[in-house]
Symmetry: C2
Subunit: 292 residues, 2 copies
């Protein structure tokens, strides 16, 4: 791959690359138990923006990691993300029927199979990452997915439905719910290369933290402004479910301003890293300007 | 600990030991999100026979593993087992309300929290195992939990409700559903020591395979013969749910005979290992004679 291509080419190539890695590590659709494997493939290979994989690839390039090692890190974070979407959409959670423009996994395959598909995808994420021997990688991914990461954020989210949250409570929830895995994608990608120095580590962490939060604020704004067609998922669902969001807590204008602030913070962190971080910078711009 | 104590003392000490390890690796009940952490602790620290932990400890002793390393392996398999019970009991799966003599997790904490507690426990299992750096351990645990292991067995189980299965189909289902994690407990425990030779590996695998299957056949017999009080879970539920079992497929007498055959096979494998395997042999006897 040409390293100097424009961002849409770079990201398109990486998205295709991780899709191929995912296709290869998922059991074939005709391997028994067929329905489980079909449900897993349905949810993982249905597209999506592959934000987490792109962050892992960009951080891997930043750190000088071997692309074939970064492949495993990128696939692992996408598998965790796919499992979390399946479980989030279940009737006992968000009860959503639409995902990536198609019926949610539990609509297509039934609740029990969706539950198992999510469970099996989480295991597969660790199996895939273990192949690559990324130093500290398993601990990093496990913490970001567990009760002190994504699953913990979901629990805060459940408890917050119908509640009035202060901005800092909302931030804590989102830093776990979305930010933890986004941060893990960046750190895992970077861990695929030779060790970074302390300043570079700090810069990357600051960037990951700002991007992770910005991603969620953008989501909240899009949930108000978007349509199901542009989003590929149900729009306006936060308000319908009385979930506190950045828009409901601080208003649309302030939420938009916060996105800009986080974008500047992410770029400033990258500038402080003392190392070329072109692709990470481009992802920051893309994510803060996205419309779906 | 005195290495020569009788089996009930040895197993009681090891069960206490893994409970302490689990208590230490689970987040405290007062750490936010409190309900999630309480649900996780409720399900993991509610006792149970700790069969998988005991197998890991026994295999660890067989292989000469460092007990503090085996601790992590034992805790990890118990965490996977605990998560699987929570998800199995959910309304969309077996819809059971009683577990280890207490309300199932989803009854005590609600479906959504039970789903998240299971998800977070799976992540914690890998986090805990990663601490111990057991060679090949993460891959082994991940495969045994995933779609080619336990989750796959559950999917076969779902598909088999109301169906007529041949004995070999039933065996395939149970080898995955119960046998995969039992086998992983043995192999993980052994992997905590210096590498075994090929004959020892083979002997251990044969033993694990026989024990794993025997455990399930005993479960099927107890489901017919036991009471909720002796089992700590709903009795007679396989028949009520029209699930094929060893008893329904081959009859009670033949199922009892199969247990004895598997017991002999497990002992014969251990005898072929050319190495002292006292605790593994005692576990084989205990599991094939158990009444709950």
């Amino acid at each position: 791959m040409n390293p100097d291509v424009a961002f849409p080419i770079w990201s398109g190539e990486r998205a295709q690359r991780v899709a191929a890695v995912l296709d290869g590590c998922l059991p074939p659709a005709d391997e028994p138990p067929e329905t489980l494997h079909q449900a897993m493939r349905y949810s993982v290979l249905s597209g999506g923006k592959r934000v987490r994989a792109l962050l892992a690839y960009a951080a891997g390039e930043f750190a000088g990691g071997d692309p074939s090692v970064v492949d495993a890190a990128a696939a692992a974070v996408e598998l965790i993300h796919a499992y979390s979407l399946i479980h989030d959409d279940l009737p006992c959670m968000d009860d959503d029927v639409l995902r990536r423009g198609r019926p949610a996994c539990h609509v297509a395959y039934g609740e029990a199979m969706a539950l198992l598909a999510g469970d099996a995808l989480q295991a597969l994420a660790f199996e895939e990452l273990a192949k690559a021997h990324v130093p500290g990688g398993i601990s990093l991914l496990a913490r970001s997915a567990g009760s002190r990461g994504m699953a913990g954020g979901q629990a805060f989210d459940l408890a917050s439905t119908g509640a009035v949250l202060a901005v800092d409570e909302l931030e804590r929830m989102h830093r776990l719910k979305t930010g933890a895995l986004i941060g893990a994608a960046v750190r895992l990608g970077a861990a695929c290369g030779p060790p970074l120095n302390a300043a570079q580590e700090r810069a990357l962490d600051r960037c990951a933290s700002a991007v992770g939060l910005a991603f969620q604020v953008v989501d909240d704004v899009l949930d108000v402004e978007g349509t199901a067609q542009s989003l590929g998922k149900t729009a306006g669902k936060d308000a319908a479910q009385q979930k506190p969001t950045y828009v409901s807590v601080m208003g649309l204008a302030a939420a938009r301003e916060l996105i800009l602030k986080l974008r500047v913070e992410a770029h400033s962190a990258l500038a402080d890293s003392g190392r070329g971080a072109r692709r990470l910078g481009e992802i920051v711009d893309w994510l803060t300007a996205r419309s779906n």
